[in-house]
Amino acid sequence: MSSYEARFKVWRGDVGGGGLKDFGVEVNDGEVVLDIIHRLQATQAPDLAVRWNCKAGKCGSCSAEINGRPRLLCMTRMSVFTREETITVTPLRAFPVIRDLVTDVGFNYTKAREVPAFVPPDKLAAGEYRMTQEDVDRSQEFRKCIECFLCQDTCHVVRDHEENKTAFAGPRFLMRVAELDMHPLDAADESGLDRKKTAQDEHGLGYCNITKCCTEVCPEGIKITDNALIPLKERAVDRKYDPLVWLGSKIGRRSSGG
């Protein structure tokens, strides 16, 4: 096993101010950035705040920015950096900082609550739901989300424009709308809830300019833009901008869903 001393810059501070602090720290073969942050806590900065849980890329807790890129600390191997490189670790820059590498991601929970839940179908009790695999494939891809909020962090709509946080749900929750709209048993339409229309009117789908950063940073490899956001935009077009589809649905010759 070989080891070396790496140079790190870690942001330390709170909402009152802070800055990048330099560290030299031992790195061993096979380690990830979270291991190094833990070594810093153990040897040099015992009060360094960092949020983490599973160390396996499944809990979505250790989201941060490494060399300016939103990533999971536990899934970023030290071997992707050269030994000469200075590695900069900062908290997520789209959310209010609490302390050191910990941010307040409450914005995301607010947005989650704004998305109406799955609407159970009439005449089916719990345990009677039956779905074929091809009907749930699309929704299942979106269910892989670990809610690390890296996509929310990197999305320039809110990252660069704080004022848009009111109107825009962000890629994670637009994906949730898409997941429910594609769900074979969701009875939102029957209950009078048009998810396609609310995606645009209430969750800010139109703010998305499909520049795909959410897809680039997703640690689960979910094709957020191609499989959720663009299909949702096309569904909104069905409702709001395609007179043929609108007319067809009015005279009952074409259903909107199938």
Binding site: G18, G68, T154, Y207, I210, I230, D238, Y241
Partner: protein, 273 residues
């Protein structure tokens, strides 16, 4: 040592007062600027070339090849093309280049294409220039207002792009003639046209609107097995939409340039048989 220990002034974006006090608009250390710069350069090169060719109104037909920029030719001032796409529905009053009548459709298709939107939003408008790199604009309304709300008409341009691709297919069939209009021949130009039309169709079929129309809009794939298969097929192409967008952009320019070279007498079309 610690640096930048003062909280931000509330200047918005990543420098918002409640966020971590980091002055730099981004901390990326990779060559993040390369992709948008290369994209902008590539698109700019095509815009310059296609503008020159569209307005030049010359050297667009060398029997049996017609430039894809000028097909179909809808004005009376077109060069006569035997059995070719001469449909003079605009009559004699149109005095400008006939290419302008046709290019509006493929131009609109590509301009509103989901891939190209990403490309030019990043490459030209820096919105954002790259992921986690702060954009320079103070306000952002995305595609919620005029004029960008018109990006939602992409599917209409898709509908228009299908017959245009059909006509270019017809032109490719006509390219299996020689310069005396005899069938059963093939030249280097035929090969160029063949490659171009395959890429044009692949790009058109891989479109996100196409994917939605053939099956993506459905809620129950199990009730529509044929459309489900079609959706899967388009989905596989769609995963290569960016590559197909670039390949077809280059191929259509090359097909036009080939016709230009032959029509202007730079060289004769090498015939295979």
């Amino acid at each position: 040592m610690a640096t930048g220990t003062e909280p931000h002034l509330n200047s918005g974006g990543v420098r918002n007062g409640t966020r971590a006090a980091i002055t730099a608009p981004h901390l990326r250390t990779d060559r993040w600027w390369l992709a948008p710069a290369a994209t902008a350069a590539g698109l700019l090169a095509f815009v310059v070339y296609s503008t020159w060719r569209a307005f030049s109104n010359s050297h667009y037909y060398a029997a049996p090849y017609v430039s894809p920029f000028y097909s179909p030719c809808l004005a009376e001032n077109c060069v006569p093309m035997r059995n070719g796409p001469n449909w003079e529905i605009f009559g004699s009053w149109w005095g400008l280049s006939p290419a302008l009548l046709v290019l509006i459709f493929p131009l609109g298709f590509r301009l509103t294409c989901y891939y190209y939107r990403k490309a030019y939003y990043r490459g030209f408008w820096a919105s954002p220039p790259a992921c986690a790199v702060a954009e320079p604009h103070k306000k952002y309304s995305g595609e919620t207002r005029f004029p960008l709300i018109f990006q939602n008409i992409h599917r209409y341009f898709f509908y228009a792009a299908v017959p245009v691709a059909g006509i270019l297919t017809y032109d490719t069939v006509l390219a299996f003639r020689n310069e005396d209009y005899e069938w059963g021949h093939m030249g280097l130009g035929t090969l160029v046209f063949l490659v171009n039309i395959v890429l044009i169709w692949a790009y058109t079929a891989s479109c996100h609107s196409c994917r939605h129309i053939v099956g993506g809009k459905l809620k129950h794939f199990s009730k529509h097995p044929v459309r489900y298969r079609a959706w899967q097929l388009v989905g596989r192409l769609n995963a290569r939409h960016m590559q197909l967008a670039w390949a077809s952009l280059v191929s259509v320019a090359l097909a036009d340039f080939y016709v230009y070279l032959v029509a202007s007498g730079v060289f004769d079309d090498p015939t295979f048989f």
